[in-house]
Each structure stands twice: as structure tokens, then as C-alpha cells.
């Protein structure tokens, strides 16, 4: 008998049943047997008497000890490792999978030293998604008209699917050119390297991703300032202060929260910029700068002004390693704390205090966001201003600041430029054929993926006619119906997904079933100098296949058998590894289930001084001038303002256009709750229990003015659209602002967000629209 069971039994025997019963029999009217009551005779009695309907009938209950999930007597359980894909495929939180009979019966945070842990609610619920009976498990093709609202699907074989796609794509390519076929990845990041490779093999410059409305604006802003993609960095041991700009990792990336709290307990000072009072603000902020959404540029200018006014910036660094300081200084001088308060509603004294706290506690780190401030009409300017703050403080590439310089040669999707055939892209002039090149020249300079926000126009103009759309979600774009219409009007589209999602898949021709994280290997997990290979933990359910496998097999069908490794994911990963030049093979990774350590040089600070940041080996940064650019040369060369200028949001309650009048509330949308990722995961009871319906949050002042109380149905509307949600009245939202979590197909907030794209990044203003709310 295993130990655990004995433990339990010992407990039970310690408590005489009779005694307890005798003491309490009188409380239970139907029980009169003097010799004591057992569960069995009680149930029998009541069932016979028909007293307790809920208990009668089909009662074959089992007797067991509680929980017993990992009961020691169950020796058939085997633990295998995986990493999670429930949010955006980036954190790759580690999972221990408990396997019985080749099925996963429990999951748990991986605890063997794996670098990203623990799991959040979504990570645990991945188990429920895996076995969700509604998952798509077979290739399906449409048999009726698209966009009718009543799609009819017919199951097909993979062979038929590939043959159909190849025939349609190759025909469209022959008639209209390869660029008319779109290769697209939605939120999933893991398949991007494979998809970009396939696009280039096919000869299409039309490779795009969801990052053209999320994250990439931040990346390119950092690039424009100091020559490296960044989203900031969590505090290290040496960090004295941290500036969190528009991020709520406590909800959006729960795996980071513990580390941030540990930093707080070590004494790191935190300034948090957010229009809302989030758990991150509540738990971390020494100073909270609660700004009106869309005014980040003014706040950043004011922050920089204070660093200069209070003489807190690193003069030596600024003098030697930056350009444009005097112009920046002159520009921000107008952004006094008082003026900033007028614009942003952040009290002047708080801004002064925040700048002092960060400026006098170096080294400091910056943590910024893939959205938040990014989703306003002048993100291309103000997100740069935000990245200038650690530069001004000399916190670039120092211990405790923002680390720069090459790590392992993988990108955010654990792929490499060489694997993605970017040399072919360049040599064959794909760049010059891009549809987005003239509209978004700055974007096009930084990314070999297109800015997709003008998809409706490209389809209308006949530029895009077909596409493979992996994880596509029409609701991710502002004014969603235009994108649904565009997808519908494409001649042939195939989606890859875990589910059939009506709001997007009603408009496509074919949907292929993708395998979940537990069922697939690629992409690799890259953490610092460590590489993890995820092996499939179980065989894919039904006919689901790994997305890398689907992409490679599709490549074979399109005629690129050799370049797509005969459809082999292992083959693709082996090639990917070869392109890194690290000399690491799949066998090496398989031999290191606890992660493969790639030896490297000892960490070095201030590599800009030693010439280790630039490819040419010269001191400096990877910018056109080789310096940190307070005035961007890329922008001025392309005809834009080079300073990080502030512009009032296009739709502003402070400067309303005729159209804006009547919609006084700022519409702030698009942030994460801990239970969902965008439109995903709402099918899962373990997650949906917390937030079963769409919610609009508003301040008591605004609610009262509209006769709304919590729980009321509310109509949220503007000149473009209207949705109905349940009102939550809370002081977590500032007056004059409504906060809406996106992704509800029954209340798609992007019916209200507008197609006013920032000219530098192409990003839509998800966080600075206007609306009105009324009680239903």
C-alpha cells in the first residue's frame, strides 16, 4: 500500500464515525437508525422514500480519497515536458504534463529549473482546450457561399486540401503574380519563421502578421532610438528603479509578476504609467501617472523635460553617444509639468516626483508594451520618446538597465533571417514590390513583413486575391466588417486554426486543424543562451497537424519539396539550427531535455563603446548615425518630423471635430484580462466562468451621469458602430474614459475603433477613440 493512502487511512481511523453521528443524529430528520448512519444506508433510505430528488437514481458513486491526482498508487503516470501556447506564443511557460495511457490527465507548472514559470489560469486551462470537444480536428472545406452566416462545411482529406490549395495558389500566381497570395500569421508567433520562408519560396512579398497592429510599433520605435528592437526589460539585481509604461503584466503576462514583486521587495522603485488602476499599479507603483489615454507623447515630453530641468540625466552619455539633444531639450521645454497636467490630467507634482524617483535611482530599466500607448494616432513619435528616457539616464547596456547586443541569433519567433530566406527577399527585390511601401515607408524599412491594415484596399484593388491565413482573426482590425468583407472577396482563402471561428471563418474557403502545444514540437524555446526543444507530448488528436508541418507540407504541394524538407518539421528545425552557425543539432537538443546551454562570452557592459553592437565593429549603436537618436535620421530622411513630437489624438474630447461631438468619452480598448487572449479561449469553462459576458468599465461619475449602475446593460456607440455590454462601475477607470476588453464576437469593440492609422507605424488608435454610453 502506497504511503499516501496509508496516511489518509490513518486519518480516518482517528475519528470514530459513531461518536460524531450520535452527537448529530437529531439534526437530520430523516435519519433515525440508532446504530449509526453510513452514506450507503442514508442514501438508500432517502432514495426509497423519494425525499431527496437530487440524490436518487444513478447513484453508483465511487468511494475514494480526495484529490488523488498524483496518488502514489498510480504508478502509470509519466511526466513529460511541454510549453504553453495559450497567450501569444512568446513566454513559453513550462508545463509538466502527467500522462496516463497516452492522455494528459493533469498539468502543472514546470519546476525543474525551466526559466519561465509558473503557469497562470490560461496555462492550466490549456488542458481543457486540448480535449475541448469543439476543437476542429479535420480539414474542412466550404460547400456554400461565403459570408451568409450559415456556413456549410464538408470534411476533406489532407491530400485534397493540399491539392486544392496548390492548384488555386499556383493559378492565381500565374495570372496575377505571386504577391497576390497573402501568407499571414495572426496572433500565433511560433509558426512565423516557417510561414515567412514559404512566402519567400513562393515568391510573394505579401507576408504579414498580427504584429502590424500589435507590438511592432514598440519594436521599431526602440530601433529608431537606439538601434535595437526592445520592449524593455524586467529589473535585474542591480536595478534601482523601473519605469513601466502602459503595461499590466500582472494580467497580460502573469509569469512576470512574481519577479517584479520580488524586485519591489528588494527595494526597486517603480513608476507606472497607465490610464487605469491595474493590479500592476496597485501592487508595484511608488508613483502612478494616470494619464488620459492617447496623451503619452505629452507625458513623455514632460518626463524628459523634468529629467533635464532637475539635472538628472547622464551628461557624459548624452554628450558622447547621442544626437539631437539640444533640439530635444528645446522641444520638451514647452512641456512644463503644468502644461502636461492640462493635456494629460496627470498632476504636475506627480510628474515631478516620478522623474525624480527614476532619475535619481540609476540604473533604471524600462518596461513597455506591445499595446497600451502604441494604440494612439501618434505612436511613432511618443513611443520613441519613451525609449529615450533610459538613454538619457545612461541606462543602456549597463547592469540593471536595458541590455543590448546580440544574444543567440534567433528572433522573437525563434527563427532566423537566413531560415526565412531574407537574403533571397533582398536579392530579388521583394522590398521594392511591397504594397505597403509607399503608404508606410518607415514600417517597410524596418520589417520584411507587410503592414496589413490596408488589406481591404489591397483586395478591392485586386492586389491580394488569395491567402493562407494562420490564426487569422478579422476582429483584430478596426472597423472589422471591412476586413471580413475583404477576406470574403478574396478568390481563395485557407485558414489554420484550433476551432472554426464564425466571425472569421464564415468568410474563408477552407479551414485546416492545427495541433496544440502538447501535440507539436516547433518552435524552439530560446531563453538567454539556453535552447529548449519541445517534443510532442501526445499524438495530435483527430487529424490535427503541427502548423510547421502544415506549412512545410503545403510548400511541398506548391513545388518546393526540397526547400520544405519533404514536409518534415525535424528537417526544418535542423536547417533552422544550421542557419544559426552555433553548431547545434536537433540531436544535441534531444540529449538536453533540461535545456541546451550555448557557451558564450561573459556578459559585457557598454558594448556600444567597444564596437560590439554594430556589424561593422565600430563603436556606437545600430542607428544610421551610430548614436542614440533623439532626432531620428530614418524619419527625417523619409520626410517625417525627427523629434518625438506630441500631437493631440485625432479623436479627442479636448479638440472634438464636428463628427466627434456627442461622443465625449475616451474609448480605451484592447488590454488583456488574465483569462483570455484576444478573441481566444472563451470556449473553455475553466476560463469563461470568470468573465462570461462582455463588459464595459466606467467611472462612477460617468455612470451616475448616465443613470447606470453596475450590472446594467449598456449601449456603447459612436458614429461608426454600436455594441451592447454589461456595465461595471469602478474607480479603477478614470472619469471621462471607458475601458473595454476586446475580443467578444457578440460585442466587437472594433466596430467602434477607427481606421486612423499612424503614418509612421500604421497602427490603429485602439486606445484613443471616442464613444458614448447609454443605459439600455
Amino acid at each position: 500500500m502506497p504511503k499516501i493512502t496509508e496516511h489518509w487511512r490513518q486519518d480516518t481511523t482517528g475519528h470514530g464515525v459513531e461518536g460524531a453521528i450520535m452527537d448529530n443524529t437529531n439534526n437530520t430528520g430523516s435519519i433515525t437508525e440508532a446504530e449509526g448512519i453510513s452514506r450507503r444506508n442514508f442514501v438508500t433510505g432517502t432514495a426509497l422514500a423519494g425525499v431527496t430528488a437530487g440524490m436518487a437514481g444513478g447513484f453508483g458513486f465511487n468511494l475514494f480519497h480526495p484529490g488523488l491526482a498524483f496518488a502514489a498508487d498510480d504508478e502509470s503516470l509519466e511526466v513529460r515536458h511541454s510549453y504553453c501556447d495559450m497567450c501569444n506564443h512568446v513566454p513559453k511557460c513550462g508545463i509538466d504534463c502527467y500522462i496516463k495511457d497516452e492522455k494528459i490527465v493533469r498539468v502543472e507548472s514546470r519546476t525543474d529549473g525551466y526559466p519561465v514559470t509558473p503557469l497562470c489560469a490560461k496555462g492550466i486551462a490549456s488542458l481543457q482546450e486540448l480535449y475541448d470537444p469543439h476543437r476542429l480536428l479535420s480539414p474542412m472545406k466550404r460547400t456554400n457561399e461565403k459570408g451568409t452566416g450559415t456556413p456549410e462545411w464538408e470534411q476533406i482529406t489532407w491530400d485534397e486540401a493540399y491539392a486544392t490549395i496548390a492548384e488555386r495558389f499556383n493559378k492565381i500566381k500565374a495570372q496575377h503574380g505571386a504577391d497576390s497570395v497573402l501568407f499571414f500569421c495572426g496572433d500565433p508567433k511560433e509558426p512565423r519563421g516557417a510561414m515567412q520562408r514559404l512566402a519567400t519560396l513562393f515568391g510573394s512579398a505579401s507576408y504579414g502578421t498580427e504584429s502590424s497592429v500589435c507590438a511592432a510599433a514598440s519594436w521599431m520605435s526602440a530601433n529608431m532610438v537606439f538601434g535595437q528592437t526592445s520592449m524593455g526589460q524586467d529589473p535585474g539585481e542591480a536595478t534601482k528603479s523601473a519605469l513601466i509604461w502602459s503595461l499590466n503584466p500582472a494580467w497580460s503576462q502573469p509569469n512576470r509578476f512574481k519577479g517584479l514583486m520580488n524586485a519591489k521587495e528588494r527595494g526597486v522603485k517603480f513608476v507606472v504609467v497607465d490610464p487605469r488602476i491595474t493590479p500592476t499599479v496597485n501592487s508595484l507603483a511608488d508613483v502612478h501617472l494616470q494619464l488620459r489615454p492617447g496623451t503619452d507623447g505629452a507625458l513623455a515630453a514632460g518626463f524628459i523635460n523634468q529629467l533635464i530641468e532637475q539635472d538628472l540625466y547622464d551628461k557624459d552619455f548624452v554628450e558622447n553617444w547621442t544626437v539631437g539633444f539640444e533640439e530635444l531639450k528645446a522641444y520638451v521645454s514647452a512641456y512644463t509639468p503644468e502644461k502636461v497636467e492640462e493635456i494629460t490630467l496627470v498632476p504636475a507634482d506627480k510628474l515631478i516626483e516620478a522623474a525624480r524617483l527614476i532619475g535619481s535611482n540609476a540604473p533604471n530599466t524600462l518596461i513597455t508594451s506591445s499595446k497600451g500607448g502604441c494604440h494612439a494616432t501618434n505612436v511613432g513619435h511618443f513611443q520613441r520618446a519613451v525609449f529615450m528616457i533610459p538613454a538619457l539616464l545612461g541606462s543602456l547596456d549597463v547592469a540593471g538597465g536595458l541590455t543590448l547586443g546580440p544574444g543567440l541569433p534567433f528572433d522573437y519567433a525563434a527563427s532566423t533571417p537566413a531560415f526565412q530566406l531574407e537574403d533571397v527577399y533582398t536579392e530579388q527585390g521583394f522590398q521594392d514590390r511591397r504594397y505597403d511601401r509607399d503608404e508606410f515607408p518607415v514600417w517597410a524599412r524596418y520589417y520584411k513583413m507587410m503592414q496589413t491594415v490596408h488589406l481591404p484596399e489591397y483586395v478591392k484593388d485586386g492586389k491580394i486575391r488569395a491567402g493562407v491565413l494562420l490564426g487569422v482573426n478579422a476582429m483584430m482590425w478596426p472597423n472589422t466588417p471591412l476586413y471580413q468583407e475583404a477576406i470574403k472577396n478574396m478568390e481563395f482563402t485557407v485558414a489554420l486554426d484550433y476551432y472554426i471561428r464564425p466571425w472569421t471563418h464564415d468568410y474563408v474557403d477552407m479551414v485546416l486543424p492545427a495541433a496544440m502545444c502538447y501535440e507539436r514540437s516547433a518552435a524552439l524555446g530560446i531563453f538567454g543562451r539556453k535552447i529548449y526543444l519541445r517534443e510532442p507530448v501526445i499524438k495530435p488528436l483527430g487529424e490535427a497537424r503541427e502548423d510547421w508541418q502544415i506549412i512545410m507540407e503545403l510548400g511541398c504541394a506548391l513545388g518546393y519539396e526540397e526547400e520544405c524538407f519533404g514536409g518534415s518539421v525535424d528537417g526544418a528545425l535542423e536547417e533552422l539550427l544550421a542557419t544559426t552557425g552555433l553548431g547545434v543539432t536537433l540531436d544535441d537538443l534531444r540529449a538536453a531535455p533540461g535545456g541546451y546551454d550555448v557557451p558564450g562570452p561573459a556578459p559585457e557592459e557598454r558594448k556600444y563603446a567597444s564596437g560590439k553592437l554594430r556589424k561593422d565593429g565600430q563603436p556606437g549603436f545600430n542607428t544610421p548615425t551610430g548614436k542614440v537618436e533623439f532626432v531620428s535620421k530614418v524619419l527625417t530622411d523619409l520626410g517625417f518630423e525627427g523629434l518625438p513630437i506630441y500631437e493631440e489624438p485625432l479623436h479627442s474630447p479636448f479638440k472634438p471635430s464636428e463628427q466627434d461631438k456627442g461622443y465625449p468619452l475616451v474609448l480605451n480598448t484592447g488590454s488583456r484580462v488574465p483569462f483570455y487572449t484576444h478573441s481566444k479561449l472563451r470556449d473553455l469553462p475553466w476560463l469563461n466562468q470568470f468573465m462570461p459576458e462582455p463588459v464595459v468599465r466606467l467611472n462612477p461619475q460617468d455612470a451616475q451621469a448616465r443613470g447606470l449602475t453596475g450590472g446594467d446593460k449598456a449601449r456603447v456607440y459612436n458614429w461608426q458602430g454600436e455594441i451592447e455590454m454589461t456595465a461595471e462601475v469602478t474607480n479603477m477607470v478614470m472619469p471621462g474614459v471607458v475601458d473595454i476588453f476586446h475580443g467578444w464576437h457578440q460585442a466587437d469593440v472594433n466596430l467602434l475603433t477607427t481606421r486612423d492609422f499612424d503614418p509612421i507605424t500604421g497602427f490603429p488608435p485602439f486606445a484613443s477613440g471616442l464613444c458614448e454610453v447609454a443605459k439600455v
Partner: protein, 286 residues
Amino acid sequence: MTRQAMLIDLSRCAGCCGCVVACQMQNNTRPGVTWVKVDCCEWGEYPQARRTYLPHSCMQCDAPPCVAACPTGASYQNEEGITLVNYEDCICCGQCEAACPYGARHLNQTEANWFDTETPAPYESYGVQRVDVAEKCIFCNELLAEGRQPACVINCPGGARVIGDIDDPESAIAKKIASGAKRVGETGFYYLEPADMPGSMVASKVMTVVSADEPEAEEHQKAQAGISPVVVGAAGVAVVAGAVGIGVAAKRSSDKKKAAAAEAGAGAHAGAGADKTADKKDGGDR
């Protein structure tokens, strides 16, 4: 002696409800049943407002009223202070649920699977399916016995939860308690509260009955003037509460206590936010 207890550092709780889901998986709870509840406390007004989330479950009372109320002896306390249920002897009469001052007991009376399928999913068929029993948090006693930690502790992203032996002064929990944690009544449950949190708020939230000499978080009531409390009270609000990360909230008025007692035998509230029926049933109580 060993006295197992739990501490939650509320500053480290973001209301993500990872504990709720980890518990539901680990303990094979039925749809609509949760042993962990996550409540929400909000105080102050713009620009000084604050919120914290408040996870709570069985407090592991020193002298558990549920054990005293149990007519069959199914409920008992082990030598480490953990109150357990011997399901073999439980008759699901509801006496324990009515007796619990923390709303921590749940009557599991529906034999169903999470997706309403006839066949249980692998994670549901693993372990044993129980029904028609009273349930509660047992500190994942079987994991403790293996020298491991409860599912809610292992899977808490904030590291908010600490479990351990408070009789051992070297234990992590004993040290955390010494840093200023407040004990909930005479129980094995402690909270580290944010500095500016109104003092009576935790008690007013976790208890189903607030005694006359325990004022109901006045600051909270004042701060929320004109606002429907975020706490589950009416069906609609329950939805909203869920929206911001609340699995469920405790029933806390004395009216509810009576209602719960009255309905106990018929299986009053399953307790979970997932149980929409239960939420509706509670609607209008406030």
C-alpha cells in the same frame, strides 16, 4: 505538533484566478463547483482609488463548526489541523455548509462534465468522480503528504500563497506571519494586507456572517457610494464581478446566511461563479 496553515500576500495577488483553475483541475471538481473563491475589494475614489483581490477558501478553523455539525462524522479534522471530508461517509445533507461561517463548503450534486459531454475528458476521468458529497478545500492534503505543495500554491503566478507549519518558527509561513500578517479569526488562514486597505474589509468579505461587534468595512461602503458593489450580489453584478477577475464572492449578509441554511438540505449554492443558477438564486439579496 504540526499546524498546517496558509498565508496569502494580497499585494502579490492580481486576481488572475490561476488558483481557482488549478484547484478545479487538481481536485476534479464538477462544473459549477469551486473550492477557491476570489473576491474583490475596492476602496477610495479617483484619483486615490485602490483595489485588491481576495482569494479565500476553507480557513481550516481551529474548532471547525462544520465538523461539529456533521451528522455522520464524515467531516473531521486531522492532526495537522486540516479539516477533511471522508466522502464515503458523507450524506450531502448540507449541515456543514450551513454551519460554515466562511461559505467554504459546497454541495456537489450534479453529475456532469465540464463540456456537458457524456464521456468525461481525460482530466475528468482521472481520479474518481464523486457526486452527492459536501466538498471543501483540503489544502491538497494528498500533495502535502507527498511533501509537495497544493495546486493553488504551485501555480500562483504572483507567488502570493505560502503554506506550511506555523508551529515551526523556521518555516516560510511563520516568517511571513511575523512580518505583519493578520489571522482570520481562530483559523489556519492569514492575510498580508496592503498598507492602506481598510482594516475590516477582509473579514467583511470572507465571512458569510458578520457579527454585530465587527463593523462592515465602512470605508469600503463610503468609497463605493452610488456604485453597485463589485462583489457578487445580483445576477448582473455577478457577471461584472467575474469580468474583473472574480471567481465568486462569499455570501456575507445574515440574510444570505439564513437563506443558505434554509436551502442547505436542498443543496443551496454550488458556490462557483460558474454556477449561473446559483448566482441568479442569490440575486437581489443585497
